[in-house]
């Protein structure tokens, strides 16, 4: 069984990579949006810092730049689009060819996602380097933080993927999930740390952010690398991430059978 999965992941990854490569123009264009938003908010916060004598909360210009640029990269590593695609698949009937095959669509999606990330690294890394040079962020992490970053991002990816994939399954019950998706994106925007570092949110906002998994999907690895978390807090974060991954796995497992039962296989 695990040999089969190993084979599948290897083979499908190569194939998805090849397909993505064919769409490289679209990949580049998509990346422009991904890069631009953090830059916009970075500039907004830098402007605020300038007006307020160089500091906002516990951030200065250098750390603001570091935050937003690292957040940009981590966001890129953890984001997914499947909640938008699922609705399309259900409506168009393109699910048929997927459902007839003995491979859970979840695997296919996660492999496709990873292939996209790997391919777009070719653009994201140089662009980040360029922006790094322009904005002059300050970043001095200790060695253990670099080591912990890998797992933190990997776990963040899984937390987010499971969560968003479960959300995507709503497409089987609701014809147009764009409203819900937008609500999710709106919440994520604030509570994961995209609009601002979480410590800059009003205290009640911070409390909510810490209770929900969004922070673990994005801000957590960023805060880790910037040295704003103690080792204990990092361990705590890891454990909570694992918890959320477990919950996500359970949700997908339970909901999927019901979801495919609702699928009416319209279309050819």
């Amino acid at each position: 069984m695990s040999a089969w999965f190993g084979d599948i992941y290897r083979t499908l990854f190569k194939i998805e990579l090849a397909v993505m490569f064919q769409y490289r123009a679209a990949v580049v264009i998509w990346l422009i949006g991904l890069v631009l938003q953090p830059v916009i908010y970075l500039v907004v916060w830098l402007t605020v810092a300038e007006t307020e004598g160089g500091r906002v909360g516990d951030f200065d210009a250098g750390s603001l730049s570091a935050y937003f640029l690292i957040m940009m990269v981590v966001n890129h590593a953890t984001f997914s689009w499947h909640m938008w695609e699922m609705g399309y698949r259900v409506r168009s009937g393109s699910f048929n060819s997927l459902l007839v095959q003995p491979l859970h669509p979840f695997h296919r999606d996660i492999i496709q996602n990873m292939a996209y990330k790997v391919l777009s690294l070719a653009i994201v890394l140089p662009v980040t380097a360029l922006l790094w040079w322009f904005f002059e962020p300050t970043l001095t992490p200790e060695p253990w933080m670099w080591i912990a970053l890998g797992p933190a991002v990997a776990l963040a990816f899984l937390v987010r993927f499971f969560f968003e994939w479960s959300l995507a399954l709503l497409a089987f019950w609701i014809t147009d999930t764009s409203g819900l998706n937008n609500l999710y994106m709106a919440l994520f925007f604030f509570l994961a740390g995209r609009m601002a570092p979480i410590s800059l949110l009003p205290s009640w906002g911070q409390a909510i952010a810490n209770a929900l998994p969004f922070r673990l999907m994005l801000a957590f690895p960023v805060e880790l690398l910037m040295g704003r978390l103690t080792p204990e807090q990092v361990m705590d974060g890891f454990l909570t991430q694992i918890l959320w991954i477990g919950l996500g796995w359970l949700t997908v497992h339970l909901v999927w059978t019901r979801a495919s039962a609702r699928y009416s296989a319209v279309g050819a």
Binding site: A25, A26, I29, W30, I32, G33, L36, Q37, V39, I40, V43, V44, W45, T47, V48, T51, E52, V56, G57, F134, T175, D176, S178, G179, N182, L183, A186, F189, F190, M195, A196, L200, L201, P202, G205
Partner: protein, 261 residues
């Protein structure tokens, strides 16, 4: 006027279409309100930490936000859907049907698709701006209103022409649907006054994708900050782009007609 009559016809069709999906009305309402709440929340978070963003006080920023929403609605009702459809039609060859109709093709393709529920933004935006203006307690005389209206029209004209130029490019490069994505990403920057951005980004937002004229300029006009020179520039640009886009469109059509099926 012809343009108006055609627009109303397509508006009716659009209405009939959209009313089928009753959920769409509520979804759009939900989306618009949520977007507004998110935007206002963002402004609120910023102003927790300062009272002045590059010379803009909170209420002024909300005025800007209202214009942003208004413009999003204006674009979203007819400009964007029609241009997106145009690109599709060029790709599928369905543009042929439009070209055989006894009306000016540019007019037809510009109003071909109406998303009625985006009008919600067109209503919401001004409400927000007016509320913010009232909060500011500033007097707005007739002349200022006039200038504001002109900048709105100019801004719309500029964006429309820009979209038309983009869509016309598809006569040569068929697979460019994604090009609109670039616009959306840069347009998002317009919810903040463009003066805060570093030079290169400001330049991009003015000369590359002219969103400055769509949002910041009318907002400045309303608040009373717009210089005379800039107003002239805006009007000049609007006229120029309308002409250029029309000419480019004609060239594109010749290209399309010349190409084989």
């Amino acid at each position: 006027m012809r343009l108006l009559r055609l627009f109303l016809i397509y508006l009716r069709i659009g209405l009939l279409y959209e009313l089928q999906y009753r959920a769409n009305f509520w979804i759009q309402m939900g989306k618009s309100i949520m977007n507004l709440v998110v935007a206002l929340a963002g402004v609120a978070v910023i102003y927790e930490h300062t009272t002045n963003l590059n010379g803009w006080v909170p209420a002024e920023l909300v005025v800007l936000l209202g214009i942003f929403v208004l413009m999003t609605g204006v674009l979203g009702v007819v400009v964007r859907p029609s241009m997106e459809k145009l690109i599709e039609d060029v790709r599928d060859g369905n543009l042929d049907f439009t070209l055989t109709k006894p009306e000016d093709a540019q007019v037809l393709v510009s109003v071909s698709q109406v998303r009625v529920w985006q009008l919600i933004d067109v209503v919401l935006g001004p409400i927000v701006s007016i509320a913010a203006m009232l909060h500011l307690g500033r007097q707005v005389d007739l002349q200022q209103m006039g200038i504001f209206a002109i900048t709105l029209l100019a801004g719309t004209a500029i964006l429309y022409s820009f979209w038309l130029i983009l869509a016309t490019i598809s006569f040569w490069f068929i697979r460019i649907e994604n090009i609109f994505m670039i616009f959306h990403s840069l347009y998002d920057a317009a919810r903040w006054p463009v003066t805060i951005y570093p030079g290169w980004l400001q330049a991009a937002l003015t000369f590359l994708v002219p969103v400055t004229f769509a949002v910041t300029v009318p907002a400045e006009a309303l608040i009373g900050r717009l210089t005379h020179d800039y107003l002239m520039l805006t009007i000049g640009l609007a006229v120029a782009l309308l002409v250029i886009s029309r000419l480019f469109w004609r060239v594109g059509l010749r290209q399309y007609a010349g190409a084989s099926a």
